[in-house]
Symmetry: C2
Subunit: 441 residues, 2 copies
Amino acid sequence: MILYTFKKGVNVIDRLNQSELREMWEDLGMNLELHDQLLESNSRLFKKTHLWQKKRPAAMKLFDRALHDSHGQRVAEILDYRKGGGKSVGTFCIYVPDEIAMAANVLTIPLCGGSGWSVSYADEMLPRDICPLVRSTFGMALSETCPYKTLKEYPLGETTCDAKKKTWDLFGIPAMEVPQKKNEEDRKLWISEVTTFMKDMEKVSGTEVTVDKLRDSIRKCNRKRVILQQINGFRRLKTPPISGLDALLVSQVALNMDIDNFISAGEELLEELMERADNDVSAFDGDGVRVLFAGTPSPMGYAKVHWAAETSGLQIVADESCTGIRYYRDLVPEDLDTLDEMIEAIADRYFKIDCPCFSPNTERFDNIADVIDEFQAEAVVHNILQFCHGFNIEAGALDKMLIEKDIPSLKIVCDYSEEDGEQIKIRMEAFREIIESKRNR
Amino acid sequence: MILYTFKKGVNVIDRLNQSELREMWEDLGMNLELHDQLLESNSRLFKKTHLWQKKRPAAMKLFDRALHDSHGQRVAEILDYRKGGGKSVGTFCIYVPDEIAMAANVLTIPLCGGSGWSVSYADEMLPRDICPLVRSTFGMALSETCPYKTLKEYPLGETTCDAKKKTWDLFGIPAMEVPQKKNEEDRKLWISEVTTFMKDMEKVSGTEVTVDKLRDSIRKCNRKRVILQQINGFRRLKTPPISGLDALLVSQVALNMDIDNFISAGEELLEELMERADNDVSAFDGDGVRVLFAGTPSPMGYAKVHWAAETSGLQIVADESCTGIRYYRDLVPEDLDTLDEMIEAIADRYFKIDCPCFSPNTERFDNIADVIDEFQAEAVVHNILQFCHGFNIEAGALDKMLIEKDIPSLKIVCDYSEEDGEQIKIRMEAFREIIESKRNR
């Protein structure tokens, strides 16, 4: 039976009603009028992109709710945690090692914005021709519609792209240095950065990271990743029991939910997917064309390309993105005995992430080839957030490999606006037809 | 007396006539028809941007000729050098240490394109929304109009921005890793990269880098930088004897000319500037408004913003760019005795470059403040090549500092196209009026 509550969540506090939520937002110094607009926009979009689906797992209700709670109940949880002395830092990238922060009793709050509504508010400080992710994030901060703005000791950036790197400088945000190559000297630099991060987190909370604490947090973060692996693993089936849209939603909220609540909700979803798999219940109508989604992250609030694809007869069976495989593929070994070994292993785990910030990034090509085979994808949809030079140029190199494998690909470069949704759908439909006719060759 | 030949040039070969040049280009596999278009475009633009000036130093003829020779006589020189067994690598950035290549008997050939003509030819491989510098360079390569395409063992990139970094990957070009912070771990990484570069250069030429050879090349590269410092130093004067347009041209051709020829031409120009300075001869009519040009590089062929500024009553008295101060400010100590010391000193010299690829890049702010004082600039013109996220976002942070110093600034974001020249001029004229009225406050 699917309950409308989390089974084992440890951070469950009383649910706030609407007027309590508004009071909280006011206390947080937010602009309620603009925030209402943001919520209305997000809610309308979610209905459009997700609720047309007729065969969603019932447990998706948990993730739908988590999405809607992200500016409400989740904020209340974190506020409650902070009132009790809990510490937190804001993050913008999956390179920041969660297990270390967790072992130092510091909560990481991913802050990447996926809402087109807030993008133009970034104009006050940022150029218009940088990626919508950065602009959406800072647009929320500048329009006072981000509830997390004051809910952290500080935000922590990283050096994964020019736009983010210089935005940190502009706003005086400290940043971890992610190297640009994967040589031994780079690995040393990265280990040093991870070590510094640990010391910083210890300073933030006044809590020393011990072997036991770090082992626990490694296990917990691995548990979360394994659940994501298992949920997404079902997408290998000929009749995927979960759609691309819903798998994306699970990943998106995984970044925001309390980890125990997420694990509990994920287990509930897993049980249902298992049952569906046993009974060949697909999330899709008919067979469709199996595609791999590859490219830039799709932060919470953004699912336009998934929607355009899956309303056009494409079935997204894998997400090669930071809100997909890149987030959960690699685990940290759990059987280590010293802090140094653990730090090194954690650094190595994050160092494996195949972001285009690395040159060359051939690991990514190998990983994509593997995923195509494993998930039997017939085609690739590249989604590139506009002005993301890294993913955009790399798509050209990737295509060389895809052409060799005889895998058709479609590149969609877009921002978070809604206006081009139908145009993208037309391209998706034409792409589906091309693949179907290729089948009959 | 100013001669129309270089006084001490060591690489002087017989000048090729037009039909010999065409034969050479044909032998190099170039597309002569398109190359004629490129030359015609460059030549027309040069007349427009530079030859309206009435008070140019006579010695500028040497640099005008070097510019026109860049696809002709200079290519013939390098071809001759290579036929004699000489080795060369192509470069795209001032982070590649010239002294090391030179000590290994390898010629570095800077390849950054500044021609708007070739930009659209990059469409074949590259996105349209990356900077025109990268597109112009690869547009020339793809349209077979770059004479240097085959005149090198290989091109060597660096990781200073996303667009370049991923372009290297796309074209299979190796790259030096420039770190993103200036901590000790970064310095170590950079020294290791510089050491690897030395070994690579030794492999390319089969020539071992020795203490003596490296000392000689350090001295020669320093000599070139000192000449550039001296030439540009005259711009401190109340009546600058050289315009911003011409100072830029000197820097542009400094990157392409044979170093001995450049030193010789530079000395000739220096003599004349000295004489002009003694007699208060300005390159400008009247006083004008003294401005600092700051921002992205202006590679050979591109001088639109300098032209717009100086035809609108602004006098560019300093260039804070890779085709300006950033190229020649820092010298390498000449009194070192071991190879290790020299390598480290060279690495440190290049590590000082204040490129926005570093986070934070506060050194640049301090340097700009110093230059403003030293050159008595009343205002700053930021020129940002379109889609250069690094310089564009950093301009916002720089402006905070400029506002504190009560220095007005104007940001021009543009590409290499000619069409917006007049619009930029209108903005320059308005900017000049603002500064003039500020004077009377």
